[in-house]
Subunit: 714 residues, 2 copies
């Protein structure tokens, strides 16, 4: 009884005093709040044995110790002996008996990062083995094991084998050298450049741990709108200091390479990729970088896009540019990720088509260590986009996925929007590039076209806010990017479930409600912002709030009006053969899905068709009616989200409960704003009333048109 | 025994799991680590009784509960009954027996914010009474009581009476609406404008608590380089939301008023303070603000200084401008703080003299609710400045002090510099404006000239960094500003002692060492940056690092060369009658202290004299030799600081120990940089060698001159 009292007091004191400020993300390691399970775990886990002769293994051991001690509410020591309940970590080279347990084929399948976790009997003891081919595998295995406990899974009779399906699993930080973050809504950059390299902020370490826990193995530190200064010696020292922190967590650093760097910092007269001096400059620069950072990952490049310099400035191709950089880093094992997000400064052609038109002809022309980094859709991270037509169109070139975690178009750090369903929708899309096995996922994995190199990147939503992402639920998108990059066959629901349990609570009622809320949130956001395939109708510049009326941008394809094309007839962008014919960039089997108004899936309708206001959809309702229904149901759904959340107060800490409650209140106001502004505006074209019974907008269209936000983050 | 085990486990779990990330500042409330003392406190404190019928009292009660529960490692409940060990909080109106204990004079002396804490016997119980005239007093009393426990002071037989000596005790945030912070080195602004007013960040609450704990009762939210947009309706809503959070902590909000706002946002054609429409505009604007924020504090104004608009743009005086704003807020009880930091855009006169020349003639012309806010010295927050000549020169006008907490000129967030000695040095200076009782402190207090209004402000060093100030020791400067504003007779040592105990540890060996380190740190910094009265020789623009050679600024008095005037003869700025005669702005008794080279205190020598290189100081050494000695001893002293700190590892948490250790390493490198650059540069004038035995600079002067930091925070 007294022991129980001690345990209870211990648990009470432990769990009640840790601030739930969100800093610990999904790695809270609070003591298991299920007393029975806690007891069972404690019997099965008593110590850690690790041949920790290397930084990665030390990191793994440290994480297990911290995690298990927290979860089990007692000190779990590292020790040399193997006893019942030992977590035994080691490579087959350390623990040769592993070869008796696991055959060579199974081990080989793990590759460089995979792991096996198995409950075994070893030297007469019940032991949990975590092993792999390389230390990184054990690190990931340790985090996986901790996840099992955090999500209160059984740990008896474990027999897990897991290897990542995608090779490069990266974050892209659009962070600038002055600590601002482009499209950042969570404070400023976490990279304290001024005090690097000497001052290593604790956040760097916790960043590395968080990423390792979800298998992210690389990070691009700098904005794709690049600054050449990062390539100069003092800045490389700062980068090297970060690389040093990340290395034990198997995370490589990458940098964005400003194409004109040879001119800007090298003082050359040109940056022509075919120029000897330029090539030499990049080669020397790469050598310099690798002397400081032997495992430097390579470069991410945005070139000849939105004002960024590039090879086309010298009448060279993207391949010329990419290959020059690739050659510079190849001797060191580095890679180049060349972004396909381009659209010509002059061409009046449908933006949808431009990246495909520029890149498809270059298929097969890139060096082996080049990947083309492609956004999930052809425009720019809209609430819904069809998959990018380049997927399946460049079989000879590894294409990597670029998703956006930061909610530039999906609500900043104010809207609860779980992007898992968006990510999966794209991955599950069938490109029909081959007779089978050519889903976007399979192309990105590299299995469709047998590429060794593969990658998935998320544009980071991380900033200096204590909870890293501004909105507590923003963390879930970061988490999901990692999990999907590791295993893209996981469902959004599975991943959401994991995240909820680790971040908040394992209480089933809570998990069920929040899971439902999260899984619905993306479509809800689509409904109150851009239903039925509308896209790119947001505020100019900062992209905050609705501005479907906006037509004053310096180029046509920056204007909302260009994208919705509302007129007295109808609304939507005709991308069929009678319009821009962007559809032709897809395989015929894909075209067929979208090309006819009558059979085009409703959620993509206005992506591909200019639809008359009174056109009857399959439901029997007109387009106009359905547009209103969507907008209004979006707002109603946010109110449902609020009611759902309000019922969860007793399950979690007051701090985060109230944070999300406040943010949902703002989200509701902004959803109403979107709905009202868009319905009022489109109504000026449809000349039809809002269906009976709907609440009327409480402001005029002019009111919405005059709103201005000069200091919205951008 | 088992009880002890429980207690030990409780303490272990409690103290070992709280991250020491600096977020909790000096309000950590960790359980008292002295077992004897803990037992004693537990006998003396058993419950809280508070007539908590008002938000301020609720805040006080909440703080006591949280604080005492943490400190005593057990739940200290709020209850209605009075028992032995009750902390009894209430006004005389709630608890009339107080009138028997405290006579009316003593109560009156407390004013609106003072408190009494007394150990009494009440209804047969031993009780600690916390009372005052107003609820704010009880709030401050509660924090004072908590400080006693945090610093492990005895709490039997308490008989404390304390009232603030200065009326307005403010922070000034140089925060911009885009979340950048001018001269901010701790991340970005903590004001999340984008998500205000709907999202109330936990930080706002903890900011309020921290400030209330040191008696700060007001905060100017916006940069003195003002943005008129803050005065528009949507932004006032955001400000009102912050005011709502701060109100229970007795903290008023203030805003900076951009003088041209009537033109910029009011669309008037002028901002002439004598213009009827302009006056009406400000009156209406004030009315609008006070409808939203009934206890709005008022305006802080920087006018006709460094490009800011002001009354002189309309050929009006500072008094005209200040009085117009004062009249607008006076009906609502508001005040205006008008900054004296001006220097003419044309006048070639010694910068030292300009504020005095502009403001002294205006003495007595300001409305009753106007204070003139004066920087501590006549130039700009240098490592050492003589007191500002305006102190004592405007007896008819309340002058308030402006100190700088953010280390713009004193090492950014990288150097450990405790500014307490700097603050005290200024406060203790005797202006000799009267035959006695006219120290700077007495002038700022208002007692010298019998002013009711008085104020002290600190330019904030707070940002989004988790530990608020970037450098852990930066917190001490924030803490000290509050304590000195409450009671300027406290010594820097007393305050440092308090802060160390609350923030780190009560272990005497630790406290003694760190106290010594802190108290020495300011002079050490002076030595390696600007010894002997040198000033303003830092890098241009960002003010990072040394640039005594710099002479390319668009105006002469922005150049380091203007301030040190090094030539083949000597170095220093002649401000005596044979020079700029700035000295004449002081009283004769003050002039005498500085006017003769032979008797001028060494630390101010080059502030007032152009001294030949071979001039022999009182020590017998030449100026040049002494300059070198100072620079070299500064560096050696930083190394002493490092050694001191290294010996303290066992006393505190690893996290902060290492942070400070890393920062001291950077400080040492930067001190060497300052030393080398300055000595090498001044040597080009002195043509003398560095004294024998000193380590030689490892770079050339050209190397230092070519260093460039385009992204240093500024």
């Amino acid at each position: 009884m007294k022991k129980l009292v001690i345990v209870i007091i211990g648990i009470f004191l432990y769990t009640s005093v840790i601030a739930e400020d969100g800093y610990r993300l999904w790695l809270r390691y609070n003591t298991i709040d299920n007393a029975t399970l806690l007891q069972q775990y404690r019997l099965q886990i008593t110590s850690i044995n690790c041949a920790a002769d290397n930084d990665i293994l030390k990191a793994a051991q440290q994480e297990l110790q911290t995690g298990l001690s927290g979860l089990l509410g007692r000190e779990i020591p590292a020790q040399k002996a193997v006893t019942n309940g030992t977590i035994l970590m080691g490579l087959p080279t350390h623990l040769p008996f592993i070869h008796q347990l696991v055959d060579d084929t199974a081990l080989a399948r793990l590759g460089e990062e995979g792991f096996i976790i198995r409950t075994i009997r070893h030297e007469g003891k019940n032991v949990t083995l975590i092993t792999g081919n390389k230390e990184a595998g054990i690190l990931y295995g340790a985090f996986h094991f901790l996840r099992l406990l955090q999500t209160q899974q059984p740990i008896t009779s474990l027999n897990i084998s897991s290897a990542p399906k995608i090779h490069l699993r990266l974050l892209n930080h659009w962070d600038n050298l002055n600590r601002t973050v482009e499209r950042g809504y969570a404070g400023c950059s976490i990279w304290d450049w001024q005090r690097l390299p000497g001052y290593i902020d604790q956040r760097y370490l916790d960043y590395a741990r968080a990423n390792a826990s979800i298998g992210i193995n690389g990070t691009v530190l700098t904005n794709v709108n690049a600054n050449a200064m990062i390539l100069t010696a003092p800045w490389l020292q700062k980068v090297a200091a970060l690389a040093r922190v990340f290395r034990p967590y198997n995370i490589k650093v990458y940098l964005t390479a400003r194409f004109s760097a040879p001119v800007e910092i090298g003082k050359l007269k040109t940056a022509d990729p075919l120029n000897d001096q330029v090539q030499k400059w990049w080669k020397d620069k790469a050598d310099e970088i690798y002397r400081l950072i032997p495992d430097f990952g390579g470069f991410l490049v945005k070139a000849n896009s939105e004002g960024q310099p590039g090879p086309q400035s010298y009448q060279r191709t993207h391949a010329d540019g990419a290959n020059m950089l690739a050659d510079a880093v190849a001797p060191h094992g580095g890679i180049v990720m060349w972004r396909a997000f381009v659209y010509s400064s002059e061409s009046p052609e449908d933006r949808f088509k431009q990246a495909y038109n520029e890149f498809k002809p270059l298929d097969g022309q890139f060096r082996k260590n080049v990947l083309i980094q492609v956004k999930n859709g052809p425009i720019d991270f809209q609430p819904r986009e069809p998959f990018h037509p380049l997927f399946g169109a460049m079989p000879q070139t590894p294409l990597m996925m670029e998703y956006q975690l930061t909610q530039e178009y999906t609500g900043f750090a104010t809207h609860l929007v779980y992007l898992g369903p968006l990510f999966k929708e794209i991955l599950n899309a069938d490109t029909h590039a081959k007779s089978n096995n050519s889903s976007v996922a399979q192309i990105v994995e590299g299995t469709a076209d047998n590429h060794t190199l593969s990658g998935m990147a998320g544009v980071s939503n991380i900033g200096s806010d204590i909870n890293w992402t501004g909105h507590p639920f923003g963390q879930a998108n970061w988490y999901t990017l990692g999990r999907l990059a590791w295993d893209n066959t996981l469902t959004a629901q599975q991943i959401a479930n994991e995240w909820i349990r680790q971040t908040f609570s394992n209480k089933q009622a809570f998990v069920d409600t929040v899971q439902k809320l999260m899984l619905a949130s993306r479509e809800i956001m689509v409904n109150y912002m851009t239903p039925l395939g509308l896209h790119h109708i947001m505020g100019y510049g900062h992209h905050y709030g609705p501005a479907p009326w906006y037509n004053k941008a310096p180029r046509a394809d920056w204007n909302p009006v260009y994208f919705h094309k509302a007129d007295s007839i109808g609304i939507g962008f005709n991308r069929t053969a009678t319009g821009s014919n962007a559809l032709a960039q897809y395989q015929p089997a894909v075209q067929q899905q979208f090309e006819h108004m009558a059979t085009c899936p409703e959620q993509f309708l206005l992506w591909f068709h200019h639809v008359p206001w009174n056109y009857k959809l399959q439901s029997g309702k007109t387009l106009w009616e359905t547009l209103c229904i969507k907008y209004y149901s979006g707002v109603d759904s946010v109110r449902w989200m609020q009611r759902s959340w309000n019922g969860l107060q007793r399950f979690i800490d007051e701090e985060r409960f109230k944070q999300v409650q406040q943010l949902l209140a703002i989200q509701e106001q902004e959803a109403v704003w979107w709905r009202n502004a868009c319905v009022l505006y489109f109504q000026t074209f449809s000349n039809k009333p809002v269906p009976a019974g709907y609440e009327q907008p409480d402001h005029t269209l002019e009111y919405y048109e005059e709103l201005s936000f000069p200091y919205a983050p951008n």
